[in-house]
Structures are given as C-alpha cells and as structure tokens.
C-alpha cells in the first residue's frame, strides 16, 4: 500500500485548511474529493465570518474570491399580516478589515484547492473515498477509494456533515434528525447596480438578511438572503425534527416558493434570474453532539465533527471548519516531529480547539440548541412584536389611546403571562 504523511478525506474548507497547513510545513498530503472540483458538492447559506480566522493563514484572505463584505445586517420577524424588520447599518462592518463576507462555495473552495496545490499538495478530485481503513487494534491507517488503498500516518476526516464513513466504523454517531437542519436555496442573478440600489449598498458592500416566523410556518428555522457580487442567495433552513413533528406536513421545497411570493420578499427578488438550486444538511446539535475529535491515527474536522453554530442572528460553520483544519494540521505536524501518531500524540488537537474560539464559542452557546426548539419563538414572538408595533402606528376612526396604554395592554396580553415569562427567563441562558 502506497503511504503518505497525511490523507484528507474531503476537499471542502476544513479539509483544504488542514492540507494547506500541512503542505506549508513540507508534509506530504493527499486530499481526496468526490466532486469534479472542490466545492462541487458544497453549499453555504452565504456568509463567512473572517474575523475569527484572520490570523490563521493571514496571507490567504486578501486574495480570496469573496463576494461582498457585509455592511448591513437585517432581521425580519414575520407574523401574520405584519412583520418587523431591524436593520443595522454599521460603519465598523463597512470598514476594513471587514468582519464577514458573503461567499459562494464552488468558487471559494476551488480557489482554496488551488492554493493547496500551489504549495505542492495533491488534491485528487472525482474520487469517492469508500472506506476509512483500520488495523486490528482499531488504529486508522488510511483509506480505500475504489480499488486503491492509500496509507497515511494521519487521516484527517473532513467528510462533511453526514459522516457516512466515520459513523460506519463507529468513530461518531449517525446523524439524527433532532440535531440537523435542512438548508436549501436559490441563486438569483441580478446586476450589481440593482443589488446596490435595492439594499442601499456602496460598491463592494453586501447585506445579510434573516427571516423568522411565518416563513417556516412556525417550524424551527428561518429564511435567509445574502447579496453576492452579481446574484443573491435566497433560502431556508428548517429543523429536520420539526418537519417530522409538524402535524400538518409541509413539502419542504414549497416553503421557498411561498417565501418568494411574500410581499416582504417579492420586490427584492423581482427580475432575478434563477441559475441554481441547491441543498445541504446543517449540523445544529451544538457542543453536546461534537464527537470524539481524535484517536489513533485520525483527526476529525469541520461539519464531520459537528462544528457549527446557529445562534439565531449569527450562523457560523465555515470559520469553525477552517480553524479546525488549521489546528488539525498543527497537531499532525507536531505528531510527526515526535513520531507519535497515537491518540496521545494527537491529543493536542482537542486542547487547541478548547483554547480557541471553536470550542469556546460552542461551549458558550451550549444552551442554544434546545432553547430554540421552542416553536413559539417562530410563532408567538414574531407575531406579538409585529402586532404591538402595528397598534402603535395605527390611526383609526376612533380617538387614539395614549401610547403608554397601548404598550402596556399589549405587553400584558402577549408578554406578562406565565408561559412567556418562563420562556423569557429560560432565554437568559443563551
């Protein structure tokens, strides 16, 4: 069996980040990617937070093919008949160094693969890894792809959210509906000038817009809209278990069609040319569902390790993927220097993730996954906020009430009741 220092299963952001770190230190690396090119099988809603990873491979980000830096953040709470939008236009977000960028994965991942290959790394595309190989002691010793077996001192498992290969051999659990969401979206092309006019953006600036409530018919999840250079990404993320639990079943794909027809969305997508429809699973189990991250001869990174965080108004995963790849590479490099690729020799990986933002932020957010399972977050609250504001803005034929009376009666009705108070109290944990 041919043998190299390191094999990376999957050429997405986590795997490529690991490979980049390894080749930069002169290790021999083979990335095996099943798509025609890196990114061919990958989907993002739309945004990469660069701030947390700026110091990781600082030379890379200046030339990365990002779409737009996000200068405007919008959140819309959609009730029946009324919706409320909060819009933040931040000078700080609009000024370099930019906190986050909208991205398209086929472009970003291909570029990243090119960077790895320029450094001398090998990225083999169009090849599906069929098995992660282990010896009698259980130590991971390489991979099988079709008729080829390749051995490695360290196998970096970056196979993505489904974890088919690693769960097959018991390195992690099979994915469960409760811990995953379905994300799907359309890419709609629009001229850059139209995008900038519609979202009030200067050249190069982008908007990120999230939608909660009616868009998912009360199921956990929401809508999203990100502006790219010459297109927008419009989609929905919805919890798998909430789809299964809903009494009246909803065909997932119809949610997006209905979303597009809503009066809040229709004028925004007007004239857009649909060019691609895509879907992907999203890990949402939080830190409780992060599997064992390393063992004899292997390290697990990115979505395969459940490293993603939906904190309602910020949704992250790609920054965790890149950072976990970086720390995996560091651990493998040190293991090689010591000649110890056992679990003990690779344990540094988890320690560095624990002292970095990756596991710290997941730990901080440990109560979010079960808190946001509450369906009333997607029904009652968007409705209550929008109804209150609608009352305040209404002038009818009858004499108006005092502003304070309107607020007090609405707050009494919608917020000062035992259920809501208990829920708001529970939310202190997030």
């Amino acid at each position: 069996m041919e043998k190299v220092d390191c094999i990376v299963v999957g050429g997405g952001l986590a795997g490529l980040s690991a490979a980049y770190g390894l080749v930069s230190e002169g290790l021999e690396v083979i990335v095996v990617e099943r798509g025609d090119y890196s990114g061919a099988k990958n989907v993002t809603g739309g945004r990469l937070y660069v701030s947390p990873i700026r110091d990781i491979y600082p030379e890379l980000w200046e030339s990365a093919p990002f779409e737009r830096h996000v200068a405007r953040e919008l959140v819309t709470l959609m009730g029946e008949g009324a919706s409320t939008t909060v819009e933040l236009a931040s000078d700080r977000f609009a000024t370099a160094p930019h906190q986050s960028y909208t991205v398209l994965r086929a472009r970003l991942d291909q570029w990243f693969a090119d960077q790895v290959m320029e450094k001398g790394g090998m990225v083999i595309t169009k090849n599906r890894v069929d098995d992660i190989l282990r010896d009698e002691s259980g130590r991971v010793i390489g991979i099988r792809a079709g008729d080829d077996e390749i051995g490695a001192d360290v196998t970096i498992i970056a196979e993505g959210v489904l974890g088919l290969l690693s769960s097959k051999i018991g390195l992690r659990e099979e994915p469960a509906a409760r811990d995953h969401a379905l994300g799907y979206k359309e890419i709609l092309e629009l001229p850059p000038g139209v995008i900038q006019d519609r979202w009030h953006l200067n050249d190069g600036e982008g908007a990120a817009h999230l939608f909660m409530g009616k868009v998912t018919k009360g199921m956990m999840g929401g809508g999203f809209l990100y502006t790219n250079k010459e297109s927008i990404s419009l989609g929905i993320v919805v919890g798998m278990q909430t789809m299964k639990d809903r009494r009246e079943k909803v065909d997932s794909y119809t949610l997006l069609d209905e979303f597009k027809e809503m009066p809040q969305i229709k004028p925004l997508v007007e004239g857009g040319t649909l060019v691609e429809y895509s879907a992907h699973a999203v890990p949402e189990g939080g830190i409780a569902k992060v599997p064992k991250l390393f063992g004899d001869g292997y390290l697990m990174v990115g979505d395969a390790a459940g490293l993603a965080l939906n904190a309602l108004i910020t949704v992250r995963g790609m920054d965790f993927a890149i950072a976990s790849g970086f720390y995996a590479a560091r651990a493998a490099i040190d293991a090689k220097a010591r000649g110890d690729f056992s679990a003990a020799g690779l344990a540094q990986y988890e320690r560095s993730l624990r002292s970095s933002f990756v596991l710290k932020d997941l730990q901080t957010a440990r109560d979010i996954p079960h808190t946001i399972e509450n369906p009333r977050l997607f029904t009652h609250y968007p409705q209550a906020v929008s109804s209150l504001l609608e009352k305040l803005f209404t002038i009818g034929p009858q004499p108006s009430r005092k502003l304070s009376s309107t607020v007090i009666s609405a707050v009494r009705k919608d917020f000062l009741n035992p259920t809501t108070l208990r829920e708001l109290w529970a939310m202190r944990k997030i």
Partner: protein, 91 residues
C-alpha cells in the same frame, strides 16, 4: 418555476448505478410517517401506482435529509461514485 424546472438548472452527471435504494418491504410494513416524501427539497420521492415508495435518484442534491429522517432504516444511501451526481457551479 416548478421544482423540476429548478433541478433542470443544476448540473447533474447521472450514474446508471443508483445511489439510493428503498427497502420497499420495510417502507410498506412499518413506516407510517414516510418523512422522505415531504422533507426532500428536490421532491424526489413518490408513491407509485402499486403503492410502493420510489425515488428519482437522478435529481438528488445529496443533502442526506431523507436518510437522516428515515425512522426505519429503509434507505440504503451513499454518495454517488466519484465523477457523478450534482456538481454545483455556485454553491
């Protein structure tokens, strides 16, 4: 645009070898929920004239939602072989 039209915009390299198979016996005998019918964002599952669940694997977006949501392990699901399946141009 209907769902078939949307899928028509994507690049698929279709393998003659199916990457999803349904264990129709399990599906018919024990599954009452049949989540695959409504969770699939490409709407690929349907019940045929004989009352059996079928899947048009050719239009699969490879998200794995059907697999994750299947309560009875009635699906054999793996990624298409290298070179096959959906190839996103944007992602």
């Amino acid at each position: 645009m209907n769902i078939e039209g949307k899928l028509g915009l994507d690049v698929f390299k279709i393998d003659k070898e199916r990457h999803i198979t349904i264990d129709v016996e399990v599906c018919n005998a024990v599954c009452t929920n049949k989540a695959c019918l409504y969770v699939c964002p490409a709407h690929l599952y349907e019940i045929d004239d004989q009352g059996n669940n079928t899947v048009n694997y050719e239009g699969c977006l490879e998200c794995g939602t059907c697999l994750i949501c299947c309560d009875h392990r009635a699906l054999t699901w793996h990624y298409p072989r290298g070179e096959y399946g959906v190839q996103y141009r944007m992602g």
